[in-house]
Structure formats: structure tokens, C-alpha cells
């Protein structure tokens, strides 16, 4: 936080500007698939940013975060299926449903810590997965096709790909800003304090359970919005968006990007999804490369991309000071 113009902040800003200019590049290079890929990246980055609030700053290792992607998506899908296509109804419903789910499973899961918390969030997310798989009316295992994207008032049209990309990007920026403001507020300091030493925070008089639960619900709600966007992006929602490996992907994005800053997970989302795209171009069996790669990242590059940037920046500063 010392210098605002550190190397790491410059690179982060450059990435965000590059994301903002992407549609221009797509226009010139005639590469529409890039826009589709990056819309997806931006949406999942938003989910990862929300997960980082509880995982990185709150120290709550939730392994069920993809559940909210599914809940937000199904809120849009089910309402569309029942004939309600107004986004003014669908999106608040997505937010409310995810907030409610987060409140219930958070209230139960936060009674535990450590490994129990990992396993319990995982199990509850799988429960949600099995429940939607079992509801035949809304497609069950096969999922639900959304024939009409969420409808808003006149100039906003989600079917316009460029406009939809910018809406997703604006919401990503808004969630980064929100997480940044939260983390630097009194509330954020309490949950970070609880991450380092929960007992001590309680001893000085903070009811950490309530603080953590609030953070858990905020993160879940943000991810629910990402789910509503994802459903609009793919025009489809199925139980597989909330399968547990998807929660694993989100954790990878957070760790790969770096848990130290609000924008870190964006690096992780871009890196992971571009890597997936590149590897799947090389071989059909690309996960055989990705798996060991993850293990190597865990073993040798623990701070993620954001941590790497901070290190490079610190080295440069030291050089400037001495040289």
C-alpha cells in the first residue's frame, strides 16, 4: 500500500485496460470466438473475485462456491421457463436465492473450522447439485435451455454480444471495487483478523461468527450474479455448472492469481482459462498436463501471479534505491 504506482498495480491496471479494449481488437482481427471466450473469462473472474473475499481475506476454504453459479443460473433459467423474462425480476431473484442458500449453509458450516469446513461446503454444494439433477420439470441432468435472455429497458440488450461483454466487465469492475472497499473497511479488518487468530478477535470483543457469516453471504450473492450472467451467456443452465470440480476451478483461479489483492483472481481466471484453451488445442488429453502443472504451482509458486508481480516490483524498487 506504500506506493500507489507499484509495478504490481501498473500491471493490474494494464490487464484491466486490455480487457476493456478487447472488443476493439476483436473488431479489427475478426476473431469473434475471442469475445465469447473472454465473456466467459470475465464472468468466471467475477465468481473468483467473490470467492477470494472469503478464501483469501477471510481464510474460509469454501469448496462449494460453484453452487451459487448454479443457483443464480437456475433462478434465471426457471423464471424464463415459467415465462418471466424480465431481468428486473430474474436478477434480484438470482441474488436473493444465492443469498438465502449462503445464509443457510454458512450458518451451519461456519460452526466448524479447517478440514471440516472444506468437506462440509463441498458436501452441501453436491447436495444442491443432486437436487437440481433430480427435478425433472426443469430438465434434470440434461439442463434447461434459455430461449430468451434477460430483458431490460430499451437501450440495454443482452443479446448484443459486445454490449453483453461490457455489462459483464462493468460488473466485474464493480465487484473488484466492492471487495477492495470491504477489505479496507473496519468489517474487512475484522474478517482478516479472524483469519489470523479467531480466538483473539473474539477475546477483544468481536462476534467473529456473525462477521464471517456476513462475508460468506456477500460472497455467495456476488457469485449468484455471476451465475445469472453465465446462464445468459450460454443460453443454457445445467447441473454441471455446479459440479464440485467447478468449485475446484474457482479455487485454482484464486490461488493461481494470488490471494493478496482484490484483483488477483482476475489474473488467475485469465491464466487458467487461456491455458485450458491453449492446451486443448495441443492435445485432447490436456488435463494430463494441467493436473501436474497445478501440483507444481502449489509446490513452488505459492503466492500466485499477483505475488510474483509484487516480488518483481519489490526487487526493482530495491535496485532503484541502492543503484
Amino acid at each position: 500500500m506504500r506506493s500507489k504506482l507499484s509495478f504490481r498495480n501498473i500491471v493490474t491496471a494494464a490487464l484491466l485496460i486490455a480487457l476493456a479494449l478487447l472488443p476493439v481488437y476483436v473488431q479489427f482481427a475478426h476473431a469473434p470466438f475471442l469475445l465469447t471466450l473472454f465473456t466467459r473469462i470475465v464472468i468466471l473472474a467475477m465468481a473468483a473475485v467473490s470467492l477470494n473475499l472469503i478464501l483469501g481475506f477471510g481464510g474460509m476454504m469454501s469448496f462449494g462456491h460453484a453452487a451459487y453459479l448454479g443457483i443464480g443460473g437456475y433462478a434465471v433459467g426457471i423464471l424464463a421457463f415459467e415465462g418471466v423474462s424480465s431481468g428486473f425480476v430474474q436478477w434480484p431473484a438470482a441474488l436473493a436465492a444465492s443469498a438465502l442458500f449462503a445464509l443457510v449453509i454458512g450458518a451451519l458450516s461456519l460452526r466448524t473450522r479447517g478440514v471440516y469446513f472444506i468437506m462440509i461446503t463441498l458436501a452441501f454444494a453436491q447436495m444442491a447439485y443432486y437436487i437440481v439433477s433430480g427435478i425433472a420439470r426443469y430438465g434434470g441432468d440434461d439442463g434447461l435451455t434459455i430461449y430468451k435472455r434477460s430483458q431490460f429497458v430499451a437501450p440495454i440488450n443482452l443479446s448484443n454480444k459486445v454490449q453483453f461483454y461490457y455489462i459483464c466487465l462493468a460488473l466485474l469492475f464493480a465487484s473488484i471495487y466492492l471487495v477492495w472497499r470491504l477489505v479496507n473497511s473496519r468489517f474487512g479488518l475484522v474478517i482478516q483478523g479472524a483469519r489470523s487468530n479467531d480466538a483473539r478477535m473474539r477475546a477483544i470483543g468481536f462476534p467473529t461468527y456473525r462477521y464471517k457469516l456476513t462475508a460468506f453471504v456477500i460472497a455467495g450473492t456476488m457469485c449468484g450474479l455471476a451465475g445469472a450472467l453465465l446462464a445468459n451467456h450460454t443460453d443454457f443452465v445445467s447441473p454441471s455448472v455446479m459440479y464440485w470440480t467447478r468449485s475446484g476451478d474457482l479455487i485454482i483461479m484464486v490461488v493461481l492469481g494470488g490471494m493478496g489483492s482484490a484483483a488477483g483472481p482476475v489474473f488467475g481466471a485469465v491464466a487458467l482459462l487461456v491455458l485450458e484453451e491453449a492446451l486443448s488445442g495441443i492435445t485432447e488429453y490436456w488435463q494430463i498436463i494441467l493436473g501436474p502443472l497445478l501440483l507444481l504451482v502449489v509446490l513452488f509458486a505459492r503466492g500466485g501471479i499477483d505475488g510474483l508481480l509484487a516480488q518483481v516490483g519489490a526487487k526493482g524498487e530495491a535496485k532503484a534505491r541502492h543503484g
Binding site: 458436501a123 479455487i251 490461488v255 493436473g291
Partner: protein
């Protein structure tokens, strides 16, 4: 009534099978403090080995024994190559690293055996129903699973509680530095324990294989159940794993069998048939939630872990 007895036996069989998986998981966690998501991959590998070896040798039992040994070796190799480097790290590192291993194993299996599942046919002597009571027959194979898992559970109890190795394992669980300082080869002990866990998972996989099919990702759904069991039973406790596994086995099996009928009595036919599949898969999670509210550390928690 016969249906009820049959479903109870099915529940017992499923619960004991789950116990094999959960015991390995809880053993590895209790002793090495390692969260192993790739435990389900070892379950899958056991099943694939069994299908392959059984086809080669032409004998189900010989194939199963070979598969068990092979899974043990794979488990020990995984420990030496990857897991060993994860001890003493953050649990988040364990989750990520072993998640990477799952991706690797799923893809490796697809590369070697293809995306289609494999069959593991039963020999005829296991494929015939046996008369348990007058007028009541039960699948010989499921009965064999019950007998084998009970024998393994008893063997496990004997090894952990009555032998020198078991004593070291228990000592390692409570204080590994001290055990290492007393001159025990703790590295070798860990490799052995991980191999044992792998073999238990492999055994569960190869026994379940003839009932379901051998396919990629078969270990993942059952792994979640094993997690639920360890949470209910208390992490690190084998006794807790046994009790919780039986609970989950019974509730899941009986729930799927009788819950829809129960629901049909209370609700309209339409509503019941829509809700039943979703609700009956929820039952065990409900059980977990209740246990959490009453005892957040599980039923038989092994100390203040």
C-alpha cells in the same frame, strides 16, 4: 417384509463398502494431517485394474488380488512422488495439489482404457442367489462383500490396536516429531499408511465394480459420501468412520427405496414423483447438518484436531 430385509442388507453392504473408503481417508488425515481428494481416484484405479487383470487371468478372484497389490503399489508411488512434498503444508495446498492429481488420473485412465467404461463380469458361483431364510434369497455377491468388508474391518482393528506397526501408527497420529525422534523411520511408515489407505480404496472400488460399471469419475461421487462420513464420524477416528458409514449406508439405501412411497402417502402423486428423487438424495446431507448442529466436531472426534 422380504423387501425390507433385502434393503436392510443392501444398506449394510453399502455402508461397509463406504467404510473401507472412509477408513483410508480418515487414517491418512489422522496420521499425516493430509486432505486427500485423490482418494476417489485410487478407488477408480482399483476397479480398472480389477477389470483388466480379471480379463487377463480369466479369474475374478485372482484379478482382484492382483488389482489390490497394484493399487497398493500405485498408492505408495503417489506418496513418494507427490504427497510427501505436501505434508506440513496448508490444507488449501493439499486440496489444490490433490485436485491436480484427480485431473491427471482421470485423463490417464481415459488415455489408457478409453472413454468407455469396462465391464467386470462376475463368476457364476457369485452370480447366483443364496437362500438365507426359508423363502428369502439374497445376492451371493452382495453377501460376499459384507463378509469380506467385515473381515477387513476386523483385520484393520487388529493391526491398528494389537500390532507393533499399529502402535507406531497410533503414536504417529498423536505426535509425529516424537515418534521420529525415537528412531522410527517415519517416512517409510507414512508410505506404508498411504499405501494401506490406497489398497482399502482400491478394494472398495473393485468390489463395487460388478454392481455398477467401471467408469471415469466413478470415484468422485462416492468420495463426497466418504467426506460426509468422516465429518459425521469425526476426522481421524476409525470407529467413528464405521458407525457413520453404517448410518449413511442405511439411510441412503432405505431412503431411496422407501422414501418415495412415504412421500406418496402424504402428498399428491404428481408432487411426490417430482420431489422424491431430489429429497431422497438430500437425506444424508440432512443427517450431516443435524450432527453438525449437535456436535460440530463429529460423533467420535479424535482429540482436538
Amino acid at each position: 417384509m422380504t423387501l425390507f430385509i433385502e434393503q436392510c442388507l443392501n444398506g449394510l453392504q453399502f455402508g461397509l463398502l463406504l467404510f473401507l473408503l472412509a477408513a483410508g481417508l480418515t487414517l491418512v488425515f489422522g496420521i499425516m494431517d493430509l486432505v486427500n481428494l485423490a482418494h476417489g481416484s485410487l478407488y477408480m484405479i482399483g476397479a480398472y485394474f480389477a477389470a483388466t487383470f480379471a480379463a487377463w487371468t480369466g479369474s475374478f478372484v485372482l484379478g482382484a488380488v492382483l488389482a489390490l497389490l497394484a493399487t497398493l503399489l500405485v498408492g505408495m508411488a503417489v506418496e513418494v512422488i507427490a504427497m510427501r512434498r505436501l505434508y506440513g503444508r496448508d490444507h488449501l495446498d493439499h486440496v489444490l495439489g490433490t485436485f491436480g492429481l484427480i485431473l491427471f488420473f482421470n485423463e490417464l485412465v481415459r488415455l489408457i482404457w478409453g472413454a468407455q467404461g469396462l465391464p467386470l463380469p462376475l463368476p457364476s458361483w457369485l452370480n447366483t442367489p443364496v437362500h438365507l431364510l426359508p423363502g428369502f434369497t439374497y445376492s451371493a455377491y452382495r453377501l460376499a462383500i459384507i463378509i469380506v468388508t467385515l473381515a477387513v474391518a476386523a483385520g484393520l482393528y487388529f493391526v491398528v490396536m494389537r500390532t507393533r506397526i499399529g502402535m507406531l501408527i497410533r503414536a504417529g497420529a498423536s505426535n509425529r516429531e516424537m515418534v521420529g525422534a525415537l528412531g522410527v523411520n517415519i517416512k517409510l511408515l507414512y508410505t506404508l499408511v498411504f499405501g494401506l489407505g490406497a489398497a482399502l480404496a482400491g478394494l472398495a472400488g473393485l468390489m463395487q465394480a460388478p454392481i455398477l460399471t467401471v467408469q471415469i469419475g466413478m470415484g468422485e461421487n462416492i468420495l463426497i459420501l466418504a467426506f460426509v462420513i468422516t465429518v459425521i464420524g469425526g476426522i481421524g477416528s476409525i470407529r467413528g468412520a464405521l458407525v457413520a458409514a453404517l448410518f449413511v449406508g442405511f439411510i441412503d439405501t432405505l431412503g431411496r427405496a422407501f422414501f418415495p412411497d412415504l412421500l406418496r402417502m402424504m402428498l399428491s402423486r404428481d408432487a411426490a414423483s417430482t420431489l422424491a428423487p431430489a429429497l431422497s438424495s438430500m437425506l444424508i446431507y440432512l443427517l450431516m447438518a443435524i450432527v453438525l448442529v449437535v456436535k460440530p466436531e463429529g460423533l467420535f472426534s479424535a482429540g482436538g484436531k
